[in-house]
């Protein structure tokens, strides 16, 4: 329906659309964006930050006569989803940082989303109100009390239009079910349940029930000293209510079928690529850890992100990925210093475009990468303030690997590792992307002629 959707084949030109968040330098830690997510129609875009806040942007209605002005995203609602807490039994601080946001399919005029920090998942309702009751019996319009003796008739309040008000209300709090840190939440296609995954366990919840959940995966060994791997991400199949996958720190993915048994400790499929012995190093295990796993919209493939690559797996082929894309292979020689500054443990996420033909994921120096699965072409783009002029076209960036640095290229040594793009989102049906760069959210669109 949208021309050029997923067509990097014609080398989609991306242009700047909007920049959200404070522009001043020295933003606080709390402002750092920790998750970005479009809703199912793409009308809304939610971000969560380290300060426990959720900001929802709504796309403006496109005006018919101004074709070039495309719908921009404006703040719709902002609310404090999580507060810092302290677990007195374990003497642990619980950060308010929003780890993930997931939208629910729309069920009535209100919108619903799940947000989670390390321990607690909350279901939020975001709704509009544009009417207000007016008229009291015991006081007049200014709020002055009336003499009760003068009340001779009863007044029923009348609803009058008022300025639109958007309210966010917590509808459910799903707490006390995770001993470890929650890394993923995922809504089931039955619209009735969702799962939450932490380092060692995955729980299944019903949206209506907050006081119990079912543990469906538990990989905690009886003796914690035997622990060799942790769960890093988990997601439900987009259409099959019984299927979900979870990835591990060992670079493997397990697919489970909830029909087979109530406990899914035994997987149905196990995706693993044999290790290349020639590439083996001290860092092999760390960089093979999967930081994100996503089903394609079609449900036929899964995509995983590890430190240096993005891989696409066919659900029917477990022994190796069907596609592997190098995100920033030039860092292979720098793993030692990346280990020292802890960057090697960064958890990059990855997303599909609406038609599953293009993949996007982040890198350092505010660079993010796109891979066209059909043409096999890839591009590196940068989210930077210098480019933030309206409809400015993003120039592809290149990192030079060898000694000679050409013009417009940037050398590996001058990459800024503190500027990382961990979280990105792609509009479900259009070429609109949201890229979180530290405390800023960039929105880019394809160029429409």
């Amino acid at each position: 329906m949208i021309p050029g959707l997923g067509a990097l084949t014609q080398d989609t030109l991306w242009c700047f659309s909007q920049l959200k968040g404070t522009v001043e330098i020295g933003a606080t830690e709390a402002d750092i964006i920790s998750t970005v997510e479009f809703n199912h129609t793409g009308e809304l875009l939610a971000t969560g930050d380290k300060g426990g806040r959720v900001v929802i942007f709504q796309r403006e209605q496109e005006s018919k006569n101004q074709v070039h002005r495309r719908g921009e995203y404006n703040v719709y609602s902002t609310f404090q989803s999580h507060e810092p807490e302290f677990d007195y039994l374990k003497s642990l601080e619980i950060e308010e940082k929003i780890n993930k946001i997931r939208w629910l399919p729309q069920q009535n005029a209100a919108y619903f989303l799940l947000s989670t920090n390390d321990k607690t998942v909350k279901l939020w309702k975001v709704s509009e109100r544009d009417k207000r009751p007016e008229g009291y019996n015991l006081k007049d319009e200014e709020g002055r009390l009336r003499d009760p003796a003068t009340i001779t008739t009863l007044r029923v309040p009348v609803l009058r239009p008022m300025d639109l008000m958007v309210e966010a209300t917590p509808r459910r709090v799903f707490a006390n079910a995770h001993t470890y840190h929650i890394n993923s939440i995922s809504v089931n296609s039955d619209y009735e349940t969702y799962m939450s995954a932490d380092d060692l366990r995955i729980n299944l919840w019903n949206f209506e029930i907050t006081n119990q959940s079912f543990n469906i995966v538990d990989i905690k060994p009886a003796n914690m000293e035997e622990l060799t791997e942790v769960i890093t991400a988990a997601e439900f199949h987009p259409h099959h209510c019984n299927t979900f996958v979870y990835s591990s720190s060992k670079g493997t993915i397990r697919l489970c079928d909830m029909r087979a048994s109530a406990l899914c400790d035994r997987h149905t499929k196990f995706f693993e690529e044999p290790e290349d012995p020639s590439n083996r190093s001290f860092f092999s295990e760390i960089i093979s850890s999967i930081s994100d796993v996503k089903f394609s919209h079609s449900g036929r493939c899964i995509m995983t992100r590890d430190y240096l690559t993005v891989k696409v797996w066919d659900l029917n082929m477990e022994n190796r990925p069907v596609e592997t894309y190098q995100v920033h292979d030039y860092l292979r020689s720098k793993l030692c210093s990346l280990y020292e500054n802890d960057c090697i443990f960064d958890k990059f996420e990855c997303v599909w475009n609406g038609s599953d033909s293009v993949i996007m994921t982040g890198s350092y120096n505010n660079f993010f990468r796109m891979f066209d699965r059909n043409t096999k072409r890839d591009v590196t783009l940068e989210a930077s303030r210098e480019n933030s002029k309206p409809r400015a076209i993003l120039k592809p960036r290149k990192v030079c690997v060898g000694g000679k640095r050409r013009k417009d290229e940037i050398s590996v040594d001058s990459l800024d590792f503190s500027k990382k793009i961990l979280h990105t989102a792609w509009h479900p049906s259009e070429n609109i992307i949201a890229v979180a760069a530290t405390n800023n959210l960039y929105i880019f669109q394809d160029k429409v002629n």
Binding site: P105, Q106, Q107, N108, A109, A110, F112, K125, S127, R129, K131, P133, Y136, N137, L138, K139, G143, L145, D147, P148, A149, T150, I151, T152, T153, L154, R155, V156, P157, V158, L159, E167, R171, S189, D190, Y191, E192, E208, H239, H240, C241, N242, M258, R259, A260, S261, A262
Partner: protein, 616 residues
């Protein structure tokens, strides 16, 4: 600001010339939008009062429109509103105006909160009955259609519950439309709506003509039963029951059984679980012949299902299934077709399965009779009594009465005793607590001799358990035993042992003596209380631990009503007075409480605290 509208302000001034009766109503109306949820809720619950004051005309033209738009409120307020509106017909002018209630309920039927929506649907169903056939087609049916074709699935799910109430009274043409709408909801895009349709399928089938059931409902049922969503398929199992009830044996065989067989072998354990869970209903609905041919083999499969949840659900149904089999040939069938599977389950790997079986297996003895029980069931009971899982053992013990009727408990007692002793000494206090609660039952069945010989010492040991909850339960247990075995038994076996503990070096055990006296005095009666217990209590008033002393005061207050006046005046009162001067604040307080309790003229009311707390 909204707080000032509270009823307290100016209620005194409401007199004068103003209309007296209006003021409280005015307050109620204003509080419909108070910031305090409790006040709003209160106002909504008195909605009928408001409507009555406004009269039918203004209720229809002003109050209902206002309520229609107040769906922003808290769930509990909306729930109350939905409930109120179901009984509102009289307040809007009777059945002729019942349709005025539809708009507010329609908006309530679209909110996201299931309980509110369900309540709105319930009220709509109630109101539908008050519509005349003409009004039903003019107002109610259009509402159902609107909901059924709504954009959001909340409204479509609500519609599912309304078809069955308007169908019977609709004209033929409208009936056709209603069926059409229901059909489309059964194949809705969202699983939420298909689930709602599946769960109302049976109900809708009941009001349809038999031909339509066969030609329309059965295909819908078959489709839903093969839905891609597990959560939809499992609801079709329930519909199976209602549909089968409507059909003849041949039709059941032809139209329902293929689907039911398929459900019993579904790939998803949740669907098979549902079949197991609904087994008794299914059995009744399809009748004895199909049960023998089809359900029994299906049940055997469920009993050895690979998923423990399914096995447990099936195990739960074993007794009901057997009970409901036709008398003729029942025994042979159970012995040959069910019992072999049960034997397997006794040593299942999963403790939930075993404990589910243990909770019903004893019930089989009445069905199978004495000989079979001794020969076949008894070994199973004995094995379960030795199970490693305490819950299994407890479930067997708690159902001993079934066996007692058939073979007498003596058969079991040799195995029972070690099982009880082990549970009584289990490391988990909750397990100990559970077995204590079965003691009176066991005592009743085993008889006083066996009890004295084997179990009495256990009961006494619990009194000095290190967990308070156990000591407390043990105290109550003694009381129940005394009620069962009588005062003479108490005097000979229990009381002396309890009283000895008054000299225990551990003050907690000394207090247990007091608690026991509190519990036992009433059951033991005046004589034992006065002669044996009272002296001990009084002696303990000199205890060095304050906690013991103030419990003496409390005990005296408690046993006061049982004592005669002489004892009260001459023995209890001086002691209480002395305690009233105690250096410890708490002791003083409770002593004074007790004194003021004893001073009241009539013994019973003066000891209200005591008589209220004494166990019945």
């Amino acid at each position: 600001m909204a707080g000032v509208a509270g009823p307290a302000t100016g209620s005194g001034a409401a007199g004068g010339d103003g209309d007296d009766s209006l003021y409280p109503i005015a307050v109620l109306i204003d509080e419909l939008r108070n910031e305090d949820v409790q006040l709003r809720l209160n106002s909504i619950k008195k909605l009928s009062t408001i409507a009555l004051a406004l009269g039918v005309e203004r209720t229809r033209t002003e109050l209902l429109p206002f309520l229609t738009d107040t769906i922003y409120d808290e769930d509990e307020v909306l729930l109350a509103l939905a409930e109120q509106l179901g009984n509102f017909t009289g307040l809007v002018g009777g059945p002729d105006f019942a349709h005025c209630l539809l708009p507010p309920l329609e908006s309530l039927a679209t909110v996201e909160e299931t309980v509110v929506r369900d309540k709105a649907v319930e009220s709509l169903r109630q109101i539908s009955q008050e519509h005349t056939p003409v009004a039903l087609e003019a107002h109610f049916v259009p509402l159902v259609k609107r909901l059924a074709s709504g954009d959001w699935f909340t409204s479509r799910t609500s519609a599912c519950g309304l078809f069955s109430v308007c169908y019977p009274r609709a004209s033929i043409a409208v009936k056709g439309e209603i069926r059409q709408y229901f059909r489309s909801l059964c194949s809705d895009d969202t699983p939420m709506v298909r689930r709602a349709a599946a769960s109302k399928l049976g109900e809708f089938a009941k009001v349809l003509e038999l031909d339509s059931v066969k030609s329309e409902i059965v295909p819908l049922f078959t489709n839903l039963a093969s839905d891609e969503q597990d959560s939809v398929r499992l609801l079709a199992v329930e519909a199976c029951v209602s549909i089968a009830q409507l059909l003849s044996q041949d039709d059941i065989e032809a139209l329902v059984m293929p689907t039911l067989r398929q459900a019993a072998e579904d790939k998803s354990w949740r669907v098979r679980y549902m079949v197991a869970d609904k087994f008794s209903e299914l059995q009744k609905a399809v009748g004895p012949k199909i049960t023998l041919n089809d359900l029994i083999p299906a049940f055997q499969n469920l009993l050895k299902d690979c998923e423990a949840e399914v096995r447990a659900a099936a195990a739960h149904k074993v007794k009901e299934l057997c009970e409901n089999l036709p008398m003729e040939g029942r025994e042979t069938m159970i012995m040959n077709q069910i019992l072999p599977y049960i034997k397997e389950l006794v040593s299942d790997t999963n403790q939930h399965v075993k404990s589910a079986l243990a909770s019903v297996i004893m019930g089989l003895s009445t069905i199978l009779g004495k000989e079979n029980t001794i020969e076949h069931l008894l070994p199973l009971f004995l094995a379960q009594l030795k199970d490693e899982c305490p819950e299994v053992r407890l479930n067997i013990i708690s159902n001993l009465d079934c066996v007692n009727e058939v073979i007498g408990i003596r058969q079991l007692s040799q195995s029972l005793l070690p099982a009880i002793v082990e549970l009584a000494e289990d490391a988990k206090w909750r397990v100990r607590l559970a077995i204590i609660e079965y003691m009176p039952l066991l005592a009743g069945q085993l008889g006083v001799e066996f009890f004295d010989e084997k179990l009495n010492s256990l009961c006494m040991a619990w009194l000095v358990d290190h967990v308070y909850a156990i000591r407390e339960a043990a105290t109550n247990n003694l009381m129940k035993l005394v009620q069962k075995f009588g005062t003479e038994w108490a005097q000979n076996t229990i009381v002396p042992k309890v009283l000895v503990m008054a000299n225990d070096p551990n003050y907690l055990h000394r207090m247990t003596t007091l608690f026991c006296i509190n519990a036992l005095s009433e059951a033991c009666g005046q004589e034992i209380t006065t002669k044996q217990m009272l002296p001990i209590v009084l002696k303990m008033a000199g205890d060095q631990v304050a906690n013991v002393r103030f419990n003496v005061a409390k005990s005296l207050q408690k046993i006061g009503p049982i004592l005669d006046t002489d004892a009260l005046q001459e023995e209890v009162k001086p002691v209480l007075q002395k305690l009233g001067q105690d250096e410890d604040m708490d002791v003083k307080y409770f002593a004074q409480e007790a004194i003021s309790g004893t001073k009241r003229p009539s013994g019973s009311s003066g000891f209200q605290g005591g008589s209220r707390d004494s166990p019945v």
